[in-house]
């Protein structure tokens, strides 16, 4: 009985939040930008005017008709490298978020629902992990795993995992003593079924918002780590690494470092706009505040 009611409630709410999202100008701009970047990432090799790894011109050529955003210190086309870099950064954002949410959400669910020593154990772990800013935590994981773009995804994912756990735990605590959950328990549903069908359903909206915002955040942290030399390694066309390479010749060739940063800015901005839009659309209370 109870699952049917829950389903009915979500079913009627579905179109209304989507409509609210569509009416939000900022969110639509963000969504369009994000879709644009996804298309670029998928068709990067076809769209790129030049081979991103080939040295095809003299180095440090300023932006021109042939090389729209100039060439880097090895004579590679900056524009083509930025297009290819989109693929790397978007993949990094998505995979890091999955790697953070996948352990984080069940941990929060277990802590909130079971309570007792399980909650104490998981909560202490979350507190300790959150006692470090996530970039520093990611640094610890990179130090242990070694610098590479794959390890950056793992590091950023694990470093942001406690955020999901804390969020889900909070949502679970808010509903777990409510009559409908008690009813589901009395009806004899096994704990895992109650957790997934009755409790987790209530946490999906905030978790979705957090995940969207975290895609942008993960791209920022990942690019930062690559800039430090702790992520992608040459000759990968990764945006943070490209800025680091261009830093050496910043005075003579400003375009090498600056354009990849603009690319990051637009992708992260798009993720944040979509995330904020989702939050406003999914949570009516937030809507009143803004």
């Amino acid at each position: 009985m109870a699952p049917d009611i829950a389903l009915a409630v979500t079913a009627t709410r579905w179109p209304s939040w989507l409509a609210r999202f569509a009416r939000n100008k900022g969110a639509m701009v963000g969504a369009a930008l994000l879709v644009g970047w996804i298309i670029i990432a998928v068709f990067a090799t076809q769209l790129a005017p030049h081979d991103p790894t080939e040295m095809l011109s003299r180095p440090r050529r300023p932006p021109s008709a042939a090389f729209w955003l100039g060439t880097d210190m090895l004579g590679r086309d900056v524009f083509s490298r930025i297009l290819l870099g989109g693929r790397i950064s978007l993949r990094l954002g998505l995979i890091s978020v999955v790697l953070g949410a996948l352990p984080g959400i069940p941990l929060g669910l277990l802590a909130g629902y079971l309570g007792g020593w399980v909650d104490t154990l998981i909560s202490r772990l979350i507190d300790a992990l959150l006692a470090l800013p996530s970039i520093l935590l990611a640094l610890v994981f990179i130090a242990a795993l070694g610098p590479s773009i794959g390890n950056v995804m793992i590091a950023v994912g694990l470093a942001t995992m406690p955020l999901y756990a804390r969020l889900v735990r909070g949502s679970v605590l808010a509903v777990r003593r409510l009559p409908y959950v008690e009813a589901a328990r009395v009806l004899g549903n096994p704990p895992w079924r109650i957790m997934i069908h009755h409790v987790l359903v209530n946490a999906y909206a905030p978790a979705l918002v957090l995940s969207t915002l975290q895609v942008g955040n993960a791209i920022l942290i990942g690019a930062g780590l690559s800039f430090l030399g702790l992520g992608a390694q040459p000759p990968t066309p990764e945006w943070g690494l490209m800025s680091a390479e261009g830093r050496e010749v910043l005075g003579r060739a400003w375009w090498i470092s600056t354009f990849p940063g603009l690319a990051i800015l637009s992708v992260v901005m798009a993720c944040n706009l979509v995330g904020d839009g989702l939050r406003a659309a999914l949570d009516p209370r937030m809507r009143l505040e803004r």
């Binding site: 006692a131 610890v140 130090a143 242990a144 800039f227 430090l228 910043l250 600056t258 800015l265």
Partner: protein
């Protein structure tokens, strides 16, 4: 108040222990052997098993992980964070040597961020939806989406290479601090402005503000005395978290501006696989961050008596 402070200090100890245990555990997941690295660095490839075993025993690496951790904590309490594999000197000395420039940078960044963010937030709150409000909220969204190293590079391009106002690198003069601090501030001031704005708007809609207005004391006094005093309370808490963001941002900023500091130290340590040094730096930064947040909590309790009496 004294009881509150003591209680909070007592709570800090288990958190510190747990954080250091976590960092220690993560650093030991992957079996990189510092003893082997140390020998490879010193004796140019000729690593005899005998010499290796000797050194491992000397460094305590042959003991169970828990014993090693116990020793690490016992050392840390007395200020001994172990020996750097590359530099062959105590980690604590290396950290303390480089902490001053990092602290200067973080504090200067925080101060600039407050100087930009708080007035902007207040202005935005007084006139919601004005152009100033739009500017403040736009700045907040931009700040949240810019990679920090990129902000630094753009500032160097503008203010060092184009205008020549500030040096692009180093830490020898107060002028060299301006651009790195501005980098940190630009990334976080927007967020601060957004927080001040929402806190201020909330306070300005409260009954006691309406009462103050009804009393006829003048809008300026209402906003500055009654509004701001109360709106600043959540902002103060935020400053503790912001300080952590500053420390983390300093790591990247120090590389961009070739400044000495803990950030540079920890990044080179990671690249050189100097595990004891990495571990020491991170545990040290975490402790500083936790202590600052403790100080903020105490300041908060002092500002807001409701916290002290536990309601």
């Amino acid at each position: 108040m004294a009881r509150y402070v003591l209680g909070r200090v007592a709570q800090l100890i288990p958190v510190l222990l747990l954080v250091s245990a976590l960092v220690f555990a993560i650093m030991h997941i992957v079996p990189g052997d510092p003893a082997e690295l140390m020998l490879a660095g010193a004796e140019g490839g000729a690593i005899t098993p005998q010499r290796l075993a000797e050194l491992r025993q000397q460094m305590g690496l042959d003991e169970p992980l828990l014993v090693q951790y116990g020793r690490f904590v016992a050392g840390a309490v007395t200020g001994d964070l172990g020996q750097s594999v590359r530099y062959r000197v105590p980690v604590t000395g290396l950290i303390l040597e480089r902490f001053t420039p990092t602290l200067q940078l973080s504090l200067a960044g925080l101060a600039l961020s407050v100087l930009i963010g708080v007035p902007l937030g207040i202005a935005a709150a007084i006139r919601p939806n004005s152009w100033l409000d739009l500017l403040a909220m736009g700045a907040a969204s931009l700040g949240a989406a810019m990679p920090i190293y990129w902000v630094g590079l753009v500032l160097i391009l503008l203010f060092s290479f184009q205008l020549g106002w500030f040096p692009p690198a180093g830490a020898d003069s107060p002028a060299a601090l301006v651009l790195p601090a501005l980098t940190l501030a630009l990334v976080s001031a927007g967020m601060l402005a957004r927080l001040v704005r929402s806190s201020m708007i909330e306070i300005l809609s409260e009954d006691f503000i309406r009462a103050a207005r009804a009393k006829g004391i003048g809008e300026r006094l209402v906003v500055w005395r009654h509004g701001l005093n109360n709106a600043m309370i959540p902002v103060v808490t935020m400053l503790g978290l912001q300080f952590g963001a500053m420390l983390a941002g300093a790591v990247v900023t120090e590389i961009v501006f070739s400044r000495p500091g803990i950030g540079r130290l920890v990044v080179t340590a990671i690249l050189q696989k100097d595990y004891p040094l990495v571990q020491g730096c991170i545990v040290f930064l975490a402790s500083v961050y936790l202590l600052v947040n403790l100080a903020v909590d105490i300041a908060y309790a002092w500002l807001d008596p409701r916290i002290r009496y536990g309601t």
